[in-house]
Assembly symmetry: C4
Homo-oligomer: 231 residues x 4
């Protein structure tokens, strides 16, 4: 894949967030990685979405060193690069403050798998990290944000592609996927799933959620060697 | 009716779901049946709604055997065909993951008749099936989903045209009607009714709902030999 | 005013309901009255909003006898005509199943005056009628619906122009105003007020609402001889 | 800056409120100030937003005396001018009845800082004033509304630019900023923050909110000498 093509894919993923109502003003950011070249392409910081063109995307290495681009990269860059370093299977990262997913993050609650819409995309609860310590917040904060996600997934032995999203406590969701298109798609579905989980829990707080067998059935309908969904 | 006409009707019912905000990406599906020919026309699986044309609709027999069409049918086909076999009065089936109806399904709750909007369309609670057993989920799952609906209606002696919708526990609603237009219309109204029921119950959990006489009055205003609504 | 002009005003009021998202499909209806001629102009029953033209509006006398028009009038006609007969100060009536106002009606709850938005338009709680008896429902139901509204206002000595709306228990709101434009405007504001009351009460159920002096200040800022709002 | 330019900026801020769904009909108003000339430019009262042109903006002095303009100024003018007199650092004021911020005002509740979206814009809770006394309501009401805001900020030693918004009890929010663009932007973000706070608190009422260190980190990422966000 040419880097030019990746810039376009990353731009399109950013614009998909706008189209689906997940971002306000300059909130949110999407990035993608070229694993062969070890290069990350990310949205610039604080630029209006309707002014974005592929050339404005910033290119960095896996440690955030700028390789190409005249604009400053997203202020969340260090979270993105850490996720790329620690989750070698992912090809793109998306961060939004989408309303309902962010509300769960603010409540410090994971999004439990309450239905098959969830199970089609997320093979278990979408976790919420523990709050960052004052030390972590006062230190390399953006890096620590990524570390909270990575630690949670590694300590709980979760495959990042099986649950391609995490809520950062008191903050908002980060999502990912095999490429920029899928990462944005996952962010959009996460918001829909979060909204329905909110409705369900406020309607019936003691709701048990789907059984393991229903989770298995729906997740593997869309994922893995035996997937049957689509053409 | 020509099969070509049915393909167009089924396509239009699918697009109505998009227009009314009931589906996201490739979620949801609508089908219709030609009772004389015993043929079912259904949306293909996982194709973007804005790419759909009548020719993409898949034609099967009443047991899901593909008669015409190059694409794979909706993965929910076996639920549709079972409903057609067991509910001989219905002419179309619509499945969505529309937000509020799905939230009731996730909570495992029927939608009670709380007002005349409900009574105009659904002559009693819109039921929610019991959860599927692990055996059913591990077996012919899509067929079992239809069976849970059919069993509920038959055991409770409910006329499928009097309550043209059912929530599948932990999943989402299935709706139907005399033709594709009405099935989609019922799905749209079900979502509006579910949203208002959510608001009502979160505002006043002990809400009693409409009386039998109000249910009768409104339902028979729009249905049956003495209907007075419309031209 | 010419009847032709009234037909246009009534049509525009109906279309305002669509534009503001208060009605779905053919739900809802607006009417207006020419007091000099004693003629009511009302939307026809069950006709799509985008097909409506002024000529389709149905003209009746104050007891619902059709004077002009080839279509059947709205099935809620008898409620409209009763309101015109009993509330001589009103010039138009609007009925919708708008989501949040209907949710209060379904809960059997009045909308309390919780803020100045409410006070700007409604000089006190927007009441909810008691449930209709089975006898009333089984009898002249549409007339009885209007009677429940009229009785409530008369027994509680409420000026219909000071509180230009009422919730019908288990059903939905009826609104009115000095003309069709204002009646539709009141229906739109009622929905906004109902939505904010829902949010407020679910956030803090014991909320006290505005004081009588704040209610007075805001209401009379927009109404009566000392109004200061607008040009 | 020419006064003509300020008129245009104030008009654009008013229109931004419409575009973002914060105002209904003629609700809401925005103003800006030319500190050198001591002149305030404000929206006229009760004029439809789609009829507004820069020339319709009304120019007053800091005590509300009309200097230029044929239309009556917004009925909230006295609140705006008091804020300008008492908060010398602000350059614009915006008032809306936006749904969720107004719902908190109706509940008489401050919006607590529950997440980083809040912390990016508001360095602490967005306060809610105590209810106005009957005397204040019966007196110079619009002036007293501003006084309630000013008193709260001064007694609690809050920098108006650090928390550029306040809820008026039983009424709605007032927001401000260094110029009209930022004041409108703050009003839009306040509504998003209020909506997420509503969701969070109805999901988990005992939610603690962000730590002081997280509040510091996010607020100073976007504000002050060490800000890193944007280009």
């Amino acid at each position: 894949m040419l880097l030019k093509e990746l810039r376009t894919q990353v731009l399109e993923a950013n614009l998909e967030l706008v189209k689906r109502g997940l971002v306000l003003y300059t909130f949110g950011n999407a990035s993608g990685i070229d694993r062969d070249k070890g290069l990350v392409v990310i949205k610039p910081s604080g630029v209006d979405y309707d002014e974005l063109i592929p050339e404005f995307m910033v290119v960095t290495d896996l440690h955030g060193k700028i390789i190409d681009g005249k604009l400053k990269p997203s202020s969340d860059l260090d979270t993105h690069t850490l996720l790329y370093r620690e989750f070698p299977s992912i090809g793109a990262v998306v961060h939004t403050h989408s309303e309902f997913a962010t509300s769960f993050a603010q409540a410090g609650l994971a999004i439990p798998p309450l239905g098959t819409t969830h199970a089609d995309y997320f093979y278990g609860p979408v976790p919420c990290t523990p709050p960052l310590t004052d030390e972590a917040i006062g230190g390399r904060y953006v890096h620590e944000t990524g570390l909270a996600i990575v630690n949670y997934f590694q300590q709980n032995k979760i495959d990042p592609l099986a649950i391609p999203a995490c809520l950062v406590n008191g903050h908002a969701p980060f999502c990912w996927g095999k490429d920029a298109h899928h990462a944005a798609h996952n962010a959009v579905v996460l918001e829909a799933v979060a909204k329905m989980a909110y409705n369900t829990l406020t309607l019936r707080s003691e709701c048990a959620g789907v059984s393991q067998s229903l989770l298995d059935r729906h997740y593997f309908r869309k994922h893995g060697a035996k997937a049957t969904y689509g053409q």
